[in-house]
Every structure is written in C-alpha cells, then in structure tokens.
C-alpha cells in the first residue's frame, strides 16, 4: 500500500481502486496532506521577527546565473541569525510546447518536443517516441532498444560533467571560495587530499584551483569529455542535439559493426576520467563537512524522490501499458518513489496514478472537467493527472499569495518529491531489481560499481544512500550517476555485439516510411517514461483521429522548481533554500552574495527551458560583442 494521502487502495491482485464512500475524493479540500506550517504561519513569523530584528532582508536573485534559462529566487533572509525565513522559486518565461503540439501528427512531437530544451538534446525525442509507440501498439525490436540505451547513456555522459564542471563546479573553485568563503582557503591549502591517487591533486587548494572557470584543468577537461560523449551520440543518431533518427517503434539509424566499434573506442576513454570524477566529488563534501558541520544542512530537504526508471531491458520492453510494471522493473535504473528515505513503490503504474499537477500558484487557469477517470488498466487517476490536464496559460501580475511562476506544482500522492539523476541511484540501490550484470550491483543501501580498466586499473567503487540529503550529496550522487550511466552504455554495447552475432539487424518495428499505415484513427493514450540528465521525464499523449488532442510534458526541473501547492507545501528548491543556513560572513550586508543559497539551487542542476518548455521571452538573447557593421573590413 504505497498511498498515504490519495484515497486509493489495492486488491489482492495489485489492482488499484478508489476507497469507497468519499465524496469528491480528489478534491484539494477533501484529501489533504499533513502540513507543518502554512504560508499564513510563515508570514506571521516573519512579521514578528521583523518587528524586533533589523537584519531581515528581502532578496531577489533574478536571474540565478549558471543555470539553464530563466529562474529567479526570492528569499527573506535573517542575516542576524543566519537563516532563510522564506523562499519562492519563479520560472519567469513561457512558450508552451503543449499548445504548439495540439492538432499535429503525433510523429511531429518527436521533433518539436525535442526543442523544448537545448541542453537535453535527445531525451525529449526519446520520451515522445515511447509515448507514441505505446499509443500505436508498436513493439520495439531488441536492437532498437539497445541502440536507444546507448544513445541515452552517451547523453548522460555529456550532461553530467557539463553540470559538475561548467555550472556547479565554479561554486567550489578557488576563485569563488577565496572571494566568498575566505576563511576556508587556508584550510584548503592544508587539506591533504585522500583521493590524490585517483584525481591527482595533493591539496584541496590545488583541486579548487583546477575548478576555476576557463583556466582550471578540471574545467577544461570537463569541456573535452562532454565533446566525446556528444560524438558517441552522433555516431549512433547522426546529430546532436535534436536527433532525426528516433522514431516510434525504435530508431531509423543504420547500425553496423563499425558503428559499434567507434562507440566502443570513445567509451573506453571515459572510464579513467570517470574514476577521477568520483574522487573529486567525494573529496569536496568531506572537506566542507570537516570545515563546518553546518555545510551538511546546505540544500537539505527530506529524502523524498521520484523517478521513472531509465534504459530498458531489450528482452522485456514491449511498449505496452498493461505490462509496464514488468518491463519497468527490468530497467537498468529502477522506477520508483522514495518518501522520507523509504522506497514505497517500484511500479510504474503507481508512479503514474499517484502523479498530479496543480496550478494554484502558476500562471495558468485551472482546467474544467476530466477526460479519464482511470488509466488503461482501470486504476483510478485524478482530475489533476497529466492525461486530464490542459495547458491554459493566463499571465497575470506576480503575487506571492496568488500566482508567481510559469512552473506548475507536480506532486506524488500529494507529497513534495524531488527529481534528479541521483534519484536513479536511490531507487536502483534500494530496490535490488536490476537485471544480472557484471558491472553494477545493488545492495539495498548502496550501489557497487565495477569500473573497467583503462590506462588505470579496474576499480570497485560504491555509492551509499547518504545520511543527510543536501547540495553536496546531490553533486556527489550526480558524479556516481555518470559512472552508472557509462556502465549501462558498456553493458548495452556488449548486448548490441551479442545481438549482431545472432544476426539481429532490425532496429525499428516498422520502416519509417510505412508508419502512416499504423497510425490509429480511434482515441488512444500513451506515456513515455524516460529520463533526463536531471532525472524524471514523462510525456503524456492523447491522440484521436490520428492527431494529438492533448500532450503534457513533465520534466525534472518542473518538479524541482515548483511553487507552493494548494496546501502551502513548498516546492523542492524553496524547501531546500529554507533549510539552508547562512554560513557566509554577513558582517557587511552590502557584500552578501547568498552563496549558500546559490550552491543549493545549482546542486539541483536547474533547467528552466525544460521547466516551462521555453526558449526565451521573445526568442532572443541579447548580448554585446565587439562587431562592426560599417562594411567590408
């Protein structure tokens, strides 16, 4: 029984049903989660403190830099007592791919939804293909699934180091630490690195210097390795971002042994780098925790996470919703939900039927009516479920009490949950349901990873479910996820060789030029559960008469950047900021940088284009470069 809030129970066969006798069971006033503090309580507390403390500051970080897209964070900070009293996360721009997709051929969704984000250049195309092939009833041949897995392992290989070294890494660099945490620098010079044998830096000061933007060795190396992974993706899919070869029912690439060999040669270069990455991101938390225990509270929030699972077992995946709990649990990373540190389900149907999106504090109108009362298995779904949701933009003035963001508020079982690449580590480690393999082993509280030899010897490493969940552990988890994803890439490559040896060549259910004949004219629904570099990704599709009649994209950053919900529960960014102590020296408020809050926010790897599926306000980024339009030369 995984639901504690929603009025849903299960029969002895695992089929879900609504608990009887509750009128309007999904009403937000009928089914309510327990909430420790309402906004009214919080406002009262701030008023009280403001009356006796002159150090309450209202700060607006707009935009938060080094994140993808437009994110603003408004905080109320009590500098005297070193804590945040309130936080609000705002996605400030909108474009609305859901609206663009209405009435189109479902196959267009692969190419159009891919443009929802310029960072996640392939994940939306894949999620879309999964949704369409479920609706169309196409079964992907094993080699098609393996190629998709390899593509998406490569995409994670691009995405994770990009965040760790180009976006989050500078927060821990010499340049930033000496400016905002000068008290740490002498300690960094004294700190003898435990992982020197792997990452090559004798002291933390050396490591921090290597994280410096542009000039640092780790920064430059991060740039180089994102390139190798991009090339791996391109070998299989032809281009990155926005591949043209992802189709409903598989891929349209021509794959040969040479293709696999080229992928292999690049993947082989990654493992030495991966070992260095683990050592770096193990060292950083240990240093900060040793310097000041309060760093364990930076970005802390409850260990409540959600994930759809990622990378299919080619011999289990059949695209059918009816079988999704079976093939879902066979994924390389197990789907599931963790609430307060406990794994409560690994069934995709539970992940799905417990999912709702609310717009009380978002610039959308509440839609009226619901198309579906159940999923295709007959399990109940909420009027707030993505298959029922409609995107009705309604821009208005910003009001903290009313509407203040373009992100909506996704919740699972009316709980605040977090998405992230690291969520895959939690689910997979705790569930112990992964297919047998030579590289990854789940123990219930950890994931053991066997990293093959490259120039350096084979290495066993282990990611543990952390004691506290905070900004540092998010970054550490992302580094381990990088290794995890590359091992999935290796295991999938070996499976591809095996399939080739058996004479398998088919990579799509139907040749793309014959897909027309397979587009149903009746009403169908589908969902693509896939993963992004930042975690959970789902595309929910409704089609009728061969056209899209509803399309909903839910991304990890939509979940993480979400505002308050109808019960005043804070979104994950807001919650994590509120739990963050202000460790930075605040003796001169004019020099206050909010570095602790920024480390918190960036640890989530926010992707705001994904969140609201925006490009930019007017499709324009204005910047000044030194050019001259005065004519030739």
């Amino acid at each position: 029984m995984c639901f504690k809030n929603l009025p849903v129970e299960f029969d002895q066969n695992g089929a879900a049903r609504l608990i009887g006798g509750i009128p309007d069971p999904y009403s937000v006033t009928v089914t309510r989660p327990e909430v420790a503090m309402t906004d009214a309580d919080r406002e009262e507390q701030i008023k009280r403190l403001s009356a006796r403390n002159g150090h309450i500051k209202d700060l607006n970080m707009d935009p938060v830099t080094r994140v993808a897209g437009a994110l603003a964070i408004n905080v109320v900070a009590d500098l005297d007592n070193g804590r945040y009293l309130d936080a609000r996360s705002q996605a400030t721009l909108f474009r609305g791919y859901e609206v663009i997709l209405m009435g189109r051929d479902p196959r267009d969704a692969i190419f159009i939804s891919s443009r929802a984000c310029g960072v996640c250049g392939g994940v939306h195309a894949h999620a879309s293909a999964y949704a369409i092939e479920m609706a169309m009833g196409l079964e992907v041949p094993p080699l098609g699934t393996v190629i998709r897995n390899m593509q998406e392992a490569a995409e994670m290989g691009y995405d994770n180091p990009l965040h760790l070294y180009l976006l989050a890494g500078p927060d821990y660099s010499e340049a930033v630490v000496r400016a905002v945490n000068p008290e740490l620098w002498p300690k960094a010079k004294e700190w003898r690195c435990r992982g020197e044998a792997h990452h090559g830096f004798r002291t933390m000061a050396d490591l921090m210097t290597a994280l410096n933007p542009l000039t640092g060795a780790l920064y430059r190396e991060g740039l180089e390795f994102t390139r190798i992974s991009r090339e791996m993706f391109v070998i299989l899919a032809g281009k990155y971002p926005h591949p043209q070869t992802v189709v409903p029912g598989g891929v349209s690439s021509t794959v040969s042994l040479q293709t696999l060999n080229e992928y292999h040669s690049k993947l082989g270069r990654i493992f030495d780098y991966a070992k260095r990455m683990l050592a770096v991101w193990d060292e950083i938390p240990e240093f900060f925790y040793a310097c000041d225990e309060r760093y364990k509270q930076v970005g802390a929030r409850p260990m409540s996470l959600i994930d759809t699972g990622f990378w299919d077992d080619p011999h289990a995946y059949n695209s059918s919703y009816a079988d999704c709990n079976d093939w879902g649990e066979r994924r390389w990373s197990t789907p599931g939900v963790v609430i307060d540190g406990e794994l409560v389900t690994t069934r995709l149907t539970d992940v799905n039927i417990g999912f709702e999106e609310f717009v009380e504090h978002s610039y959308y109108e509440q839609w009226a009516g619901d198309r579906y009362a159940t999923d295709p298995r007959g399990d109940p779904i909420s009027p707030y479920h993505p298959w029922n949701k409609q995107t009705l933009p309604k821009p208005s003035e910003k009001s903290w009490k009313d509407k203040y963001t373009w992100a909506c508020a996704p919740r699972w079982d009316r709980n605040v949950v977090e998405a992230g690449a690291y969520a895959r580590m939690f689910m997979t480690a705790m569930a112990q349901k992964q297919p047998a393999n030579d590289f990854i082993q789940a123990t219930g509280r950890s994931l053991k990873l066997n990293v093959p030899k490259g120039l350096t010897p084979e290495m066993d490493c282990e990611w543990h479910v952390p004691e506290v969940w905070n900004a540092f552990e998010r970054n550490r988890g992302r580094a381990y996820h990088y290794v995890f994803s590359q091992l999935v890439g290796l295991a999938s490559l070996l499976e591809a060789y095996k399939l080739f040896k058996q004479g398998e060549r088919k990579v799509a259910a139907v040749p793309p030029d014959q897909l027309d004949k397979h587009i149903p004219k009746d009403e169908r629904i589908g969902v693509g559960w896939w993963g992004a570099g930042r975690g959970y990704l789902a595309h929910h599709l409704v089609m009728d008469h061969g056209k899209i009649v509803n399309y909903q994209i839910c991304t990890p950053s939509t979940i993480n950047a979400s505002p308050r919900d109808p019960w005043d529960q804070l979104g994950p960014y807001e919650e994590a900021v509120l739990n963050t102590p202000i460790i930075e020296d605040t003796s001169d408020p004019s020099k206050f940088t909010s570095i602790d809050m920024l480390r918190t926010i960036r640890s989530f790897d926010p992707c705001m284009p994904c969140t609201t599926h925006v490009h930019t306000g007017q499709g324009t980024v204005t910047r000044e470069v030194n050019t001259c339009a005065c004519g030739a030369d």
Partner: protein, 150 residues
C-alpha cells in the same frame, strides 16, 4: 570551402572550429535584432579583451541551450578557437515561430545575403587560403593552402 549547419551549441561549435582551424569564418543566420524585417547586415568581429567572468557567463549560456551568432563569437573567442577573420551576415527575421517556409521578407533578403557571402569568399582568395586581414600578418605557411571555411 566547407559549408556546415552550426545548429548546435556554441561550445560545440568552438570545438569544431578548433578541429577545422579555418582561416576565415563566415557565420550566416537570422536572429532578431530589432532591425526592420528583411534587413541584411554584415558585421566584422573585432577581437577585444574579454574578462574570464564574461566568457564563463557566455559558456554558461551556451551549454544551457542558447544558440546565436554573437554567442558563438564570444565563446569561440574566449576559448581561443576563432580565426583571425570572422564575419557575421545576418538577416532580420520577420517571424521566429515554427513554419515550413521562410517569411517573404526573409526570402527576399536571402539572395542579398548570398551575395555578401560570395563577396566574403572572393575577398578571402580564389580557392586557396584566406587573404590576410588588412594591416595584419600574412597567413602562416602551414595554413595558407587551407580553403576558407564558412
């Protein structure tokens, strides 16, 4: 001469330029810049010292999905991948929404843009290495025979 669709992020473009090491870079695009629709503009990139913080900001934009000519110029310059001569030829779009066709203004401007591209190529030298920038040093022997890249 090599023609490529540089639709991808500026960091990837900079890495591609490092690989190609062109003598001349001609970037052609249509990014809204507040000019009347259909305006064709040619701009020479003039290198200037850029602070690391500015480059990092540009790299941050580039790796998080923004694509644009100015961003390519800034990032490629910051990462030391820009050739000595870089020119942007831009058409002011009438619209930037999804469409199967260019706007009439963009169609009309396209031929003018192509004329400017041909002029740049002619200026770069017939079929061989790029001509030296006015007042600048001659092409290095190792790069003189490489065809210009656009």
């Amino acid at each position: 001469m090599l023609v490529e669709d540089l639709f991808y992020g500026a960091v990837a473009v900079a890495q591609r330029l490092e690989e190609l090491r062109p003598d001349v870079l001609i970037l052609v695009g249509a990014v809204p810049g507040g000019r009347p629709p259909g305006t064709v503009e040619r701009r020479d990139y003039r290198p200037k010292p850029i602070r690391p913080a500015e480059i990092q900001r540009a790299v941050g934009d580039a790796v998080t999905g923004y694509v644009g000519i100015d961003l390519v110029l800034e990032v490629a310059a910051g990462l030391g991948a820009l050739p000595r001569r870089a020119v942007a030829i831009e058409v002011e779009p009438a619209r930037v929404t999804s469409s199967e066709q260019l706007s009439p203004e963009a169609v009309a401007a396209l031929e003018h843009a192509l004329v400017l591209v041909r002029e740049e190529l002619a200026r770069a030298g017939p079929g061989s290495g790029a001509a030296p920038q006015r007042g600048g040093p001659p092409p290095s022997p190792g790069r003189a025979s490489r065809p210009p890249t656009s």
